[in-house]
Structure formats: structure tokens, C-alpha cells
């Protein structure tokens, strides 16, 4: 992991009327790391992430992603990032090939590049026989892996994963994390939100959001030491209790 900052967040806030969803948070993400963005439901992690990927405007604060300011250079930010939403984000009524062609197309990939990527992707996932099948007919685990691969189609510098493993079985989750590792190994930065605490252990560093604030940010090992507990789950519980 290098010390080159790829995401810089300074004093970021988001208010909805009188409610402050994200309250003055600051953090950096380094190139090539797997950054876990944790928090209970309603802690503000989705709101914060939406500001990083440019679909929600910050009330105040600065965000730089891949060297571009999200306020002034949103287009450049969008070209540098990949995104996989917590809801399945492909079209069920399109085949695997059509989905790949579509998403490759909107990121401006050339026809040859799309062909090459399609071949590579289906062979990696072992989906050669299913390439002309509708995505809706695939099991959820496959859909999830496919979604991840499609988010990486345009070789983004950073990929944002919003609760990517919701609702899939443990084996698939394991395989999914292997894919994430492999991608991080290539130098892609992974920004992942999750509420599975065992997954937090796989991250290089994690931040834990509670009620709009970042309450902790360090490697899983250091956090466990700091709070003097055995697992990330306990770290999380301790933090949540402190606030109450």
C-alpha cells in the first residue's frame, strides 16, 4: 500500500433541513487499499458515500476523488470510479452479453475493447455457456460477482461497493472477497460499505460512523488493541454503546 492519497475528505457535512446526516467528517483513503466504511443503518454512511461518487451535493466541505474535486470536476470523477449499488444493479431482462455491452458503452469503451472484456470476464467467472442467458435467470451469487466485474469494466482507479454481499451465502461471500483482494492487488482502490463485521476484518483500514461522525479509523488490528477486544464486532458494539 502506498501513501498516495486517492480520496481526500475535509470537513464534509450534509444537512437535510435541520437534520444533520453527515457531521463534519474528514478522512483520507490511500491508493490500492481496501477501505471499509462501516456504520449502523442510518449512521450516514450511504449519504457520505453518495457525496463521494457525485450523486449528492455536500452542504459544506471538500471532497477530492482521484485528484478531482467532486464539486467542480464531477465528470472526471465519474470516469475514474466504478460503482456497485447495494441493490442489484444490472438489467434482468438483458442477457449477460447485452449488459456488458451496455455498461461498456456508457463508459465509452470501444467495440473491440468491449468484445475483449466480455470474453475475459465470462471466462474468469466461468460463464461461457451462459453469456446469452438473461441475467434475471442467474442465481444471486453469480449476479453479484457479475455486477462487480461490470463495475470494473472501464478499469476505474477506485471502485465503490455499497453493501455488496447483502443476502448472499457465506461461500459466495468468501469468493466475492477473493475477487476484491485480487482487484486490490492490481492496484485498484476499494471503498466498501458493509455491516458484516467479519468482513471488516478483511479490510486494510476501517472507519466506523456513528450518528454522522467518524468515531474510529484505523487498521482492524489497531482498533481491536485500542478497545481491548477480540473481534471487530466487539469494537463496533463498544463504540455504539459509548454514544448511547
Amino acid at each position: 500500500m502506498s501513501q498516495e492519497k486517492i480520496i481526500e475528505v475535509k470537513n464534509l457535512s450534509k444537512k437535510f433541513g435541520s437534520f444533520t446526516a453527515v457531521d463534519n467528517i474528514s478522512f483520507d483513503v490511500y491508493k490500492g487499499e481496501i477501505f471499509g466504511f462501516l456504520g449502523a443503518n442510518g449512521a450516514g454512511k450511504t449519504t457520505a458515500m453518495k457525496m463521494l461518487i457525485g450523486i449528492s451535493r455536500p452542504t459544506s466541505g471538500e471532497v477530492t476523488v482521484a485528484g478531482y474535486d467532486v464539486k467542480t470536476a464531477a465528470e472526471m470523477v465519474k470516469k475514474s470510479i466504478g460503482y456497485m449499488s447495494q441493490r442489484f444493479s444490472m438489467y434482468d431482462d438483458l442477457t449477460i452479453k447485452e449488459n456488458i455491452t451496455f455498461f461498456g458503452g456508457i463508459y465509452g469503451l470501444s467495440r473491440n475493447k468491449i468484445k475483449e472484456k466480455t470474453a475475459q470476464l465470462v471466462s474468469e467467472l466461468g460463464l461461457e455457456d451462459a453469456v446469452d442467458k438473461l441475467v434475471g435467470d442467474l442465481p444471486l451469487g453469480w449476479k453479484q460477482k457479475l455486477s462487480f466485474s461490470v463495475a470494473l469494466l472501464h478499469e476505474p482507479k477506485i471502485v465503490f461497493l455499497d453493501e455488496p454481499t447483502g443476502g448472499v451465502d457465506p461461500i459466495t461471500r468468501r469468493q466475492f472477497w477473493e475477487m476484491i483482494y485480487a482487484e486490490a492487488h492490481k492496484g485498484t482502490t476499494i471503498f466498501v460499505t458493509t455491516h458484516y463485521m467479519d468482513e471488516a476484518e478483511y479490510c486494510d483500514r476501517v472507519s466506523i460512523m456513528v450518528e454522522g461522525h467518524i468515531e474510529a479509523l484505523d487498521t482492524p488490528k489497531n482498533l481491536k488493541q485500542q478497545f481491548n477486544v477480540e473481534s471487530m464486532n466487539d469494537v463496533f458494539l463498544k463504540l455504539a454503546r459509548n454514544v448511547e
Binding site: I53, G54, I55, S56, R57, E75, K78, K79, I81, Y83, S85, Q86, R87, F88, S89, M90, Y91, D92, D93, L94, E98, T101, F102, F103, G105, I106, Y107, G108, F160
Partner: protein
């Protein structure tokens, strides 16, 4: 541009793979035009009537022959007393009974007048009304014939001429009406559903994170429906002309231009609806209740606006369909050119701009 083509291709996959969409797009226009053209009609043909002839003389027989010779009436039975009238109405066998008074000929000769009573079953008021008018017309016609030979002292004759639709064919109002309803349905409802579907599935988020800008997303979603609506409008006009003998007196080019304008109006309404709703069901409900009903009721399609209470007449002005129906009727039936319908055209353009501006504003708020 390549991105745009890719996007539109994807939209066509969505449409062609969804049976429901395909039905609404292609089954509906043909079914509706056929239904309105053949089944629903204001004209009467071969209506069953009964005759109660108390006089039974040469004059009444002549009139009865005349009535039965017309294609509008079929004499189902002759009855002998007033008591039978109720029972045959209740059985629903006949829609009207003609009663000739006693001494018909004698009265004509001595008092210079005789009476025919027309009793109609008014459970269907429109038909009852039409029957009365038709019978009147036949009787008047007959009186005139007699008077021509007898030379009365004084007489005013009305000469009626029906312009633009001399045979009073109801198809002439239904074709423009159905076209308006279908274009509204396809353009507004289908686009609002297809946009909200992306929201519901979560794919809208993915599209917004991509380098496509929101305008490209919306245009990409709307474009296929412009294309399909144009095909639909063409199908309806072609059916109207070749199956029902609807004339196109004016310029086809102007008709095409106005139709495309209305399609864009409807699409902008569809976009507006999609910014207001987050689920397909809400979009469908808003489209059906908020658009379809006013289009059918307040546009002058079925119910004449001029006979509505003033408040409804005022409200009808904000319904784009009203203006479009005026425009296409003027072009198809009266052969109107743009100098005659420029006002209605401007209103439609103004409405479209208003909807687009409003959608953009709403859309921005959603992105905040």
C-alpha cells in the same frame, strides 16, 4: 452519440421483451380504433320499433311504409292497444312505439292536421333522442311532399346542410379522439413507468454515477417512445382513412408536425410524472387518474365541451388533449392550414415548455 445509440438499443430490448409493453404499444391502438369505429357509435341503424295504428287507413299505411323503408327502423311488430306498450318496452324488444290516432285521414281532411305520438324507451337517452329526431324528419319530409302538390298559402322551409361530416359519422370524432388517447397513454404513461422502473430497480443510481449526464439518460429513455408513438399515430391515421373512410383534407405534413408536437407534450408530462413518483405503480396511477380520465372526459373526445358547466369548460383549457383534438379535427375534416390553428399550436408549445422546465427543476431538487 455512440453512447446514445447503446442506450437506446437497451431501451428497445426492455420494450420488446416485455409482453405488457408490447400489448399497450401495438395491441391497444388497433383494438381501440376498431372498438370505437365499429362498436361504439352515436348513429342508429335498424332500430326495432312497434306500430299502434288505430286508424288503419291509406294515409297511415303510406307513412308506415315510408318508415319501414328507411334503413334506420325495423318494424318489429304491430300492436293493437295501448296496454301492450309497457310490456313490450319491459321485454326490451323495441325502442320506440309510433301511435297513430283514430280517424287519421278524416282529421287531416277536416282539421288540416292529424297526430302521431312517438313513445320512446329513454333508458338510453341519446338513442331515444335520436329516434325522435329521425321520426320527425321522416314525417316532415312526408308532409312536405303532400303540401307540394296541394300548394299551401304560406310555408317556411328549412334547408339543412351539414358541412365537414355530412353523414354525421361518429368515426370522424373517434379517430382523432382515439389517436389523442393512445398518444397520451403511450408517451406519458409508458415513459413515466420506464423511468421510475430504473429508480425502483436501483439502476438509475448506477446510470447517474456513470459519465452519462442526467439529460442524456432522460433523452435516451424518451427517444424510443417518440419513435414508437410516431408509428402508432401513423397506424391510427391509416386505419382511419382506409377502414373508416376518414378524410384528410389538410396537409399531411402539418398533421405529422402537430402529432409530433403533441407526442413531445405527452412525453414531457411523462417525465414530469416520473420526477414526482418513485415507484412504477405510483407513476401508473398518476398517469391513469391524472391523465387518462381528463383526456377522455374533458377533451371533447366523447362529451361535447360546449354543453358542460362553465367551471369544467374552464378547466378543460389546461388539458393539452383538448387543443390537439381541435387541431387534428381542423386539419383532417376542414383542411385547415397553420394560419387557422396557430393559436392552438402555440398553446401546445407553451404547455410543453412549461412541463419541461418544471421537470428540470424537480429533477435538480431530487439530485441535491
Amino acid at each position: 452519440m455512440k453512447r446514445f445509440i447503446g442506450f437506446v438499443t437497451k431501451e428497445f430490448y426492455h420494450i420488446f421483451r416485455d409482453k405488457r409493453s408490447m400489448f399497450i404499444l401495438f395491441g391497444m391502438p388497433i383494438a381501440q380504433i376498431m372498438l370505437f369505429g365499429f362498436a361504439i357509435t352515436n348513429e342508429i341503424n335498424n332500430v326495432n320499433i312497434a306500430i299502434l295504428d288505430k286508424s288503419k287507413d291509406t294515409k297511415t299505411q303510406k307513412i308506415i311504409n315510408k318508415i319501414s323503408a328507411s334503413k334506420y327502423f325495423y318494424i318489429e311488430q304491430e300492436i293493437s292497444s295501448e296496454y301492450q306498450i309497457e310490456s313490450i318496452f319491459k321485454k326490451g324488444k323495441v325502442k320506440a312505439v309510433l301511435v297513430f290516432e283514430n280517424h287519421f285521414v278524416k282529421n287531416l281532411q277536416t282539421q288540416k292536421q292529424a297526430k302521431v305520438q312517438v313513445i320512446t324507451d329513454a333508458t338510453d337517452p341519446n338513442i331515444a333522442n335520436t329516434i325522435t329526431n329521425y321520426v320527425n324528419a321522416i314525417l316532415q319530409n312526408h308532409t312536405q311532399e303532400i303540401n307540394n302538390t296541394n300548394q299551401p298559402a304560406y310555408q317556411i322551409q328549412t334547408q339543412t346542410q351539414l358541412y365537414y361530416n355530412p353523414e354525421l359519422k361518429s368515426v370522424f370524432t373517434f379517430v382523432p379522439g382515439v389517436m389523442t388517447v393512445i398518444l397520451m397513454l403511450v408517451s406519458a404513461m409508458m415513459t413515466s413507468i420506464s423511468i421510475t422502473r430504473e429508480k425502483e430497480l436501483g439502476t438509475m443510481e448506477v446510470l447517474l454515477v456513470s459519465p452519462l449526464n442526467p439529460l442524456q439518460v432522460i433523452l435516451g429513455k424518451v427517444f424510443p417512445y417518440i419513435f414508437l408513438s410516431i408509428i402508432n399515430a401513423t397506424v391510427i391515421v391509416v386505419l382511419g382513412v382506409f377502414v373508416f373512410g376518414m378524410p384528410i383534407e389538410g396537409s399531411i405534413l402539418l398533421l405529422a408536425f402537430e402529432s409530433i408536437l403533441f407526442i413531445i407534450t405527452a412525453l414531457s408530462l411523462g417525465i414530469l410524472i416520473s420526477t414526482l413518483s418513485n415507484s412504477q405503480q405510483t407513476a401508473m396511477m398518476i398517469s391513469l387518474m391524472g391523465l387518462m380520465l381528463p383526456v377522455i372526459i374533458l377533451s371533447g373526445f366523447i362529451f361535447p365541451l360546449s354543453s358542460m358547466p362553465l367551471p369544467l369548460q374552464v378547466i378543460s383549457n389546461i388539458i393539452p388533449a383538448k387543443w390537439f383534438i381541435i387541431i387534428i379535427k381542423a386539419i383532417m375534416l376542414k383542411g385547415a392550414s397553420i394560419e387557422i390553428i396557430w393559436k392552438e399550436t402555440l398553446i401546445l408549445i407553451g404547455m410543453t415548455l412549461f412541463f419541461i422546465v418544471l421537470s428540470i427543476k424537480k429533477y435538480k431538487i431530487r439530485l441535491e
